[in-house]
């Protein structure tokens, strides 16, 4: 009561105009130590930034040949425009590049559409499935008069996006099943799930990728061969599912016992209880950490370089292996880092905003 009274009578804070000097004084020079640190940091930045700007912008070449680059002092950004089609699309047939482009545009459109929480309903799932199907058809071809492009010719950015998006979409249900299994009261099922999750989480992704490259062919019946990309995709799905399982388990544990008991006392079966009462709440809690897993899955797709798949990192490296463009790796890697950074930053920013919305 007293509190509400004081809030009602609270006068607004006096408007204080803070000048530049005042701001500098309170944020950069508020103590002797801080002043010293500020000066040292400024000196450091002065040593770093002007030479970098000179290298990256003033002396740099943007649309030139490799030989002109070698004559200059600055950055050779020309390596990007000169090889952009190969970096982005890899060995995909040159005249068919519009197909992966359209597929990527659809994917980005879907992601933007799903950003709005008002669009989260049953039809969104259907839209996604349709979208993924159309993307698959565009990439693979062979239907509707599109020329077939075998998946060993896929590469570059579409491959990176495909490995992470399909990896996530397929790993999600598997992860939920594993999490439910781990929380189950049946000892045999619980043991199987715990063994799987801990085994996968204990080994590096690269050992699974090696397994996909070398061992999966041995596991399959003789005569049946599966494409390298699909095998790597399977390894990524198996890997991501274990991490999703742990995140979902966290959500399941956070749901109060009363919810489980209330669902049981209504006479719901196990499936109904989980589908209608527990999972909708649990999955909502774990959206932010799930986006975190999506980010690391996206970054981890770059590991397929090691088993010689042509994702965007590998295409860039093979451009750098070309004798005429050798030695311009800082420029190429900075460009790639920018692509990864923009994607991951957008996702983590979104996750943070969502966390704020869901908490309120």
């Amino acid at each position: 009561m007293a509190k509400s009274l004081t809030t009602n009578n609270r006068s607004t804070a006096p408007i204080v105009r803070i000048g530049v000097w005042q701001w500098l004084k309170s944020n950069l020079f508020n103590s002797a130590f801080n002043s010293l640190v500020t000066i040292l940091v400024c000196l450091f930045l002065y040593k770093i930034i002007p030479p970098f700007v000179e290298w990256a912008f003033i002396d740099s070449l943007w649309f030139s040949t490799a030989d002109q680059c070698r004559a200059g002092h600055g950055a050779c950004w020309s390596i990007i425009p000169a090889n952009i089609r190969f970096i982005i699309f890899g060995f995909y047939p040159y005249e068919l590049h519009w197909r992966p482009t359209v597929a990527m545009v659809i994917l980005i459109g879907l992601l933007f559409y799903s950003k709005n929480r008002n669009h989260w309903n049953r039809s969104l799932g259907a839209v996604w499935i349709a979208g993924l199907f159309i993307m698959g058809v565009l990439m693979r071809g062979g239907f509707f008069g599109l020329t077939a492009v075998e998946s060993d010719q896929w590469g570059g950015l579409p491959l990176t996006l495909m490995l992470s998006v399909f990896g996530m979409v397929a790993a999600y249900p598997l992860g939920i099943l594993l999490a439910l299994g781990r929380r189950s009261k049946m000892p045999a099922i619980k043991t199987i799930c715990i063994l799987y999750i801990e085994l996968i989480r204990g080994v590096p992704l690269i050992s699974l990728l090696f397994m996909s490259a070398v061992l999966f062919p041995l596991f399959l019946p003789t005569g049946l061969t599966v494409n390298k990309i699909i095998r790597a995709q399977a390894a990524i799905i198996l890997f991501t599912a274990a991490y999703i399982a742990e995140v979902v388990r966290g959500g399941l544990q956070a749901i109060p016992r009363g919810q489980y008991e209330a669902a049981e006392s209504l006479g719901l079966t196990y499936v109904q209880k989980m589908r209608l009462v527990v999972l909708p709440q649990a999955l909502k809690i774990v959206i932010p950490p799930t986006v975190g897993i999506l980010i690391s899955a996206f970054k981890d797709t770059s590991l397929v370089v090691i088993i010689a798949l042509y994702d965007i990192l590998k295409t860039t490296r093979s451009v750098l292996g070309n004798p005429s463009w050798m030695g311009f790796s800082p420029e190429a890697y900075i460009f790639l880092a920018l692509i990864y950074f923009v994607c991951c930053y957008a996702m983590s920013n979104y996750s943070r905003r969502l966390e704020g919305e869901l908490h309120s």
């Binding site: 944020n27 950069l28 009261k185 590096p204 019946p221 970054k299 590991l303 750098l320 311009f328 790796s329």
Partner: protein
């Protein structure tokens, strides 16, 4: 009430319920089905593998480990030559992985703590720089960073002839870093022994001081005294051994440096990449740990008259560490697992040696099982430590 309880028991006992709806029967059926499915899948894969191996005429088993490896390894902590066995080559790999992990973990904790504290600095510039660092490093794949640092050595740094010397005695070139180090001398062994003895003495001193404080209330300056013992004893040992001060300074001989301590480009790039990447995650953990301690704790500690150092040591750190240590351990494990990416830049860590072994012998199943086994051992050890720590630090609740 009575009725409900009876009905419930009836459900559990399976009385008056049809056999198919009995809970226990159902649970058993589900579990048997699950085990059978996993077993069948395993049997199917096993069968296929055996058939494939027979067809390709690959012998299974770990017998190949005793054969001669006949490949060279660039850097090794123990003596190794191409004439040694595969098992010794793999041991070299494990030791190299442990070396990267050990040095990397120490550097990461130092850098991460530093950046985490900088992130909370009242200095706007420092806080923003730390935030930018954390965001950028977290959003770029570790493999790309490793390639970048590796190319930094090969494409940016000059040849040894024009090596950069940022500090006296340190040379940077495309052959890696070279440091001036003290010439090996028997005195170093004595110094190490003295430092070890100093640590034990400091531990005993701390226990004695605590017991005395509990009895009499008198405070003993433990920190200063321990520091004195741990630094002083090796110094005395050094003086007694005749104060050897000869340095091994790197000198240019032909195309490369002779003498000094050499850090290869592969090791340097791997360490640099892993430390800079993981430090960003550690910084976030440290920040969260410090922020988790309410302001009231500091104020309460001040109110009972503790000094600044005491507040940090006795009130803030014990609580912050409880929040920090578990995620920190998992980051350290991540660093160890990420060190397996050494294979991409040619540092001979365990995965890299194992993959060479697989390529040479064709023993893929054994090789990959070994990789998984070694990393599983690392994670098992880490989780054992975590459990021990959590038990030790668990809040004692009323």
């Amino acid at each position: 009430m009575q009725n409900g309880a009876t009905a419930n028991r009836a459900l559990d006992d399976g009385q008056g319920v049809s056999f198919l709806n009995d809970r226990k029967v159902r649970a058993a059926a589900y579990q048997i089905a699950a085990v059978c499915m996993v077993g069948l899948l395993g049997y199917y894969l096993f069968n296929n593998t055996v058939a494939n191996l027979q067809k390709q005429a690959i012998a299974t088993g770990f017998g190949f480990l005793g054969k001669q490896a006949s490949f060279e390894i660039g850097e090794s902590l123990i003596h190794y030559s191409a004439a040694d066995t595969y098992i010794r080559a793999l041991l070299v790999g494990v030791l190299n992985t442990l070396k990267v992990a050990f040095i990397g973990i120490i550097l990461t904790i130092i850098l991460g703590t530093f950046i985490g504290i900088a992130r909370l600095s009242t200095n706007w510039l420092v806080a923003k720089l730390a935030a930018v660092y954390i965001e950028v490093m977290q959003d770029i794949p570790i493999l790309l960073q490793l390639f970048f640092w590796y190319s930094f050595f090969y494409d940016i740094l000059p040849a040894p002839r024009e090596a950069i010397e940022p500090v006296v005695g340190v040379f940077m070139s495309n052959r890696g870093f070279v440091f001036a180090v003290p010439e090996p001398h028997p005195a170093h062994v004595y110094m190490a022994a003295a430092a070890f003895a100093g640590c034990i003495a400091a531990y005993v001193l701390r226990r004695w001081a605590r017991r005395r404080q509990e009895k009499t209330g008198r405070v003993f300056p433990v920190f200063i005294c321990s520091l004195g013992i741990i630094i002083g004893l090796p110094f005395v040992a050094w003086l007694l051994a005749g104060a050897p001060h000869k340095m091994s300074v790197p000198e240019l001989a032909g195309f490369n440096f002779q003498g000094g301590l050499n850090v290869s480009p592969e090791f340097g790039a791997l360490l640099l990449g892993l430390v800079l990447y993981t430090a960003a995650f550690v910084a976030e953990i440290v920040r969260a740990g410090i922020q988790a301690i309410g302001k009231g704790q500091t104020e309460a500690a001040m109110a009972i008259g503790l000094k600044r150092g005491q507040i940090l040591n006795l009130v803030i750190l014990p609580q912050a560490l409880r929040v920090i240590i578990p995620p920190l351990t998992s980051q350290m494990l991540n660093l160890t697992k990420n060190s397996s990416l050494a294979v991409a830049i040619g540092f001979p860590d365990f995965v890299s040696v194992a993959s060479t072994t697989i390529n040479q012998t064709g023993q893929a199943i054994e090789g990959i099982s070994l990789i998984m086994l070694v990393y599983l051992c690392f994670s098992l050890l880490t989780s054992l430590f975590m459990n021990w720590y959590n038990k030790k630090m668990a809040l004692v609740e009323r």
